[in-house]
C-alpha cells in the first residue's frame, strides 16, 4: 500500500495538494499541509501521486508504493 510523507518545514502553503486530493491532504489554519491519512486508498492513490508532482516545494514524498 502506498505511504506518503509531508514535510511541514518545506511546505510553502500553496494548497496544490488540497486542490488535487482533498481526501488525503488538508491545510491547517496556518496554511501548512496536514495529512488526513498517510496511506491513501486505491481510489485516492493516483491523485495523491499527482499531488506529489505538483507540490512546488517538494514537501511531499512517496515512501513506499
Amino acid at each position: 500500500m502506498m505511504r506518503i510523507k509531508a514535510d511541514s518545514d518545506l511546505c510553502v502553503g500553496s494548497g496544490q495538494c488540497v486542490l488535487t486530493e482533498p481526501a488525503v491532504f488538508d491545510q491547517g489554519d496556518d496554511g501548512i499541509v496536514a495529512l488526513l491519512t498517510d496511506h491513501p486508498d486505491d481510489q485516492s492513490a493516483a491523485q495523491a501521486r499527482h499531488a506529489v508532482t505538483l507540490c512546488p516545494s517538494r514537501a511531499l514524498s512517496i515512501l513506499q508504493e
Binding site: 510553502v12 494548497g15 516545494s57 517538494r58
Partner: protein, 407 residues
C-alpha cells in the same frame, strides 16, 4: 551551436515581440529545438542561461542553490537598466527577492490567509462582485463596451481591496500607479509611480496600526503585536506586494481568457456545456498565456549541474515560464488550446518556494468570472478581430490594453 543562438537573440528584451499574439515568440521555439538550456546575450550586456524546458525550469525554481535576490551580481536583469538597479538596491527587498530562511519568515505568517478553505469562504462575496459588474455592463447605454474597464480590472481590484482592507475609493489611484510600474515607460515615470504608491501604502499601514479593522493587514499587525514586535517596514513591503501583484495579473488573465475562449468557439462550447470543466479550462488558459514570463529569474550561488549543463556560481538563469508551458515534452501539441487537457503542472504561477501566494484566489476569480460571464451573456463576442487587439507587448505582464466586446 550555443554561440549562434546567442547571436540570434542578441538584444534579448522581454517581452520579445510575438509573431502571433497567441503564441510565444518564434525565437523561443528555435531555442528549444537546439537545447532545453542555452546561453543567451541580454540587452544589459551580460549573458544568462535560458531555460526552455519544463523539467529543467522546475528543477531550477525548486533548487535552493539559485537565488531570487535581484541585487546579487550576475542576476539577469534584462528588463532593467542601471538606474533602476540603483533604485532596487536602495529599497528593502520584497518577499519575491528573498531566499531561504528570510523568505520563509516573511511568507509563513501570510499563507494562512490564502488556504483553500479560507478562500472558499470568499466565494459567495466574489460571485456578488462579479454579478454586480456584469449588471453594470448589461445596463451600458452603448456597445461595444471595453471589458478591461468594465470587468477585468474592477473585479480583482475590489476583491483585493476588500481582502486587504483598502478603501475601494482609492483603487483608481493605485491601479494607475501599478499599471505605470509594469509599463515600459520612462524611468522617471516608473520611479514616481513607485514612490507615490509606497507613500500611500506606508500611510495605510500606519492607519491600520492605530485603527485595526477586519482585514488581512490588521490581522498581521495583531499577530506581530502578540509576539511583542511591530515590523512596520516589513508590513509595508507585504502590502506593496499584495496590492500590486494581485490585481493587474488577474485582470490580464481575465481579458486574455475571454479572448482565448471567444477565439476558440469549439472550446468555449465545451465549457458552456458543462461548468464542471471550468477549473480545467482555467488551468489551460494559464498555461497557454503564461502572462508573467521571465519574472522567474535566478542567479546560481554555487556550481550546479542541471540537465547535463554546468551552471557556475554567479551565472544568471532565466526560466521562461511561457517556454516551459509550451514544452511538447510536458504538454502534447502545446499550440492547441485544449480545455480538457490536464494542465495543472503548468508553471504560470512559478514553482518552488516562491510559487505565487495568491494563485488559488486568482483561480477562483477566473472560474467565477468565466462561468458567470458566459452564462449571463451567452451571445458575447469580440467587437474587433482578435489579431487587431492592442496586446501589451510594452509591459512586463502580458495582456490586452482594451477589449471591445458586444452581444
Amino acid at each position: 551551436m550555443t554561440k549562434s543562438v546567442a547571436g540570434e537573440l542578441a538584444g534579448l528584451k522581454l517581452p520579445i515581440e510575438r509573431g502571433c499574439p497567441f503564441a510565444p515568440p518564434t525565437a523561443y521555439e528555435r531555442l528549444r529545438e537546439q537545447a532545453p538550456i542555452n546561453k543567451v546575450r541580454l540587452t544589459s550586456g551580460g549573458e544568462a542561461w535560458w531555460m526552455s524546458g519544463h523539467e529543467e525550469g522546475r528543477a531550477v525554481l525548486a533548487d535552493p542553490r539559485f537565488s531570487s535576490d535581484k541585487r546579487k551580481d550576475g542576476f539577469p536583469l534584462f528588463t532593467l537598466d542601471a538606474a533602476t538597479l540603483q533604485q532596487l538596491r536602495s529599497q528593502p527587498p520584497l518577499m519575491l527577492g528573498m531566499d531561504g530562511a528570510e523568505h520563509s519568515a516573511a511568507r509563513r505568517p501570510v499563507i494562512g490567509e490564502f488556504t483553500v478553505r479560507r478562500l472558499a469562504a470568499l466565494r459567495p462575496r466574489i460571485q456578488d462582485i462579479v454579478d454586480h459588474f456584469i449588471d453594470d455592463m448589461l445596463a451600458a447605454d452603448e456597445r461595444p463596451v471595453d471589458l478591461v474597464q468594465t470587468l477585468s480590472l474592477p473585479v480583482p481590484s475590489l476583491v483585493i481591496c476588500e481582502l486587504l482592507g483598502v478603501p475601494y475609493t482609492d483603487h483608481d489611484f493605485f491601479q494607475s500607479r501599478t499599471t505605470m510600474m509594469v509599463r515600459r515607460t520612462s524611468l522617471e515615470d516608473r520611479q514616481r509611480a513607485f514612490a507615490e504608491l509606497r507613500a500611500y501604502i506606508d500611510d495605510l499601514v500606519t492607519r491600520k496600526e492605530s485603527e485595526p479593522g477586519d482585514d488581512l493587514f490588521s490581522r498581521q499587525i495583531a499577530r506581530q503585536r502578540q509576539k511583542g514586535t511591530l515590523d512596520h517596514a516589513g508590513l509595508v513591503s507585504l502590502a506593496f506586494l499584495l496590492l500590486t501583484a494581485g490585481h493587474e495579473t488577474t485582470a490580464n488573465m481575465i481579458s486574455l481568457g475571454v479572448v482565448g475562449l471567444l477565439s476558440h468557439p469549439e472550446q468555449l462550447a465545451l465549457v458552456k456545456a458543462d461548468p464542471g470543466r471550468t477549473p480545467m479550462a482555467v488551468e489551460e488558459l494559464l498555461r497557454y498565456f503564461a502572462i508573467a514570463d521571465g519574472v522567474t529569474s535566478r542567479v546560481a550561488t554555487e556550481d550546479v549541474k542541471i540537465g547535463g549543463v554546468s551552471i557556475k556560481a554567479g551565472e544568471g538563469v532565466i526560466v521562461s515560464t511561457l517556454s516551459a508551458n509550451w514544452d511538447p515534452a510536458a504538454f502534447k501539441d502545446p499550440a492547441e488550446l485544449d480545455v480538457e487537457r490536464g494542465a495543472r503542472h503548468h508553471i504560470a504561477f512559478g514553482f518552488g518556494p516562491h510559487q505565487c501566494l495568491g494563485q488559488n484566489l486568482a483561480r477562483m476569480e477566473l472560474q467565477i468570472v468565466f462561468d458567470t460571464l458566459f452564462r449571463r451573456i451567452p451571445t458575447l463576442r469580440l467587437a474587433a478581430p482578435a489579431e487587431d487587439l492592442p496586446f501589451k507587448t510594452d509591459a512586463v505582464i502580458y495582456g490586452v490594453h482594451e477589449l471591445p466586446v458586444t452581444w
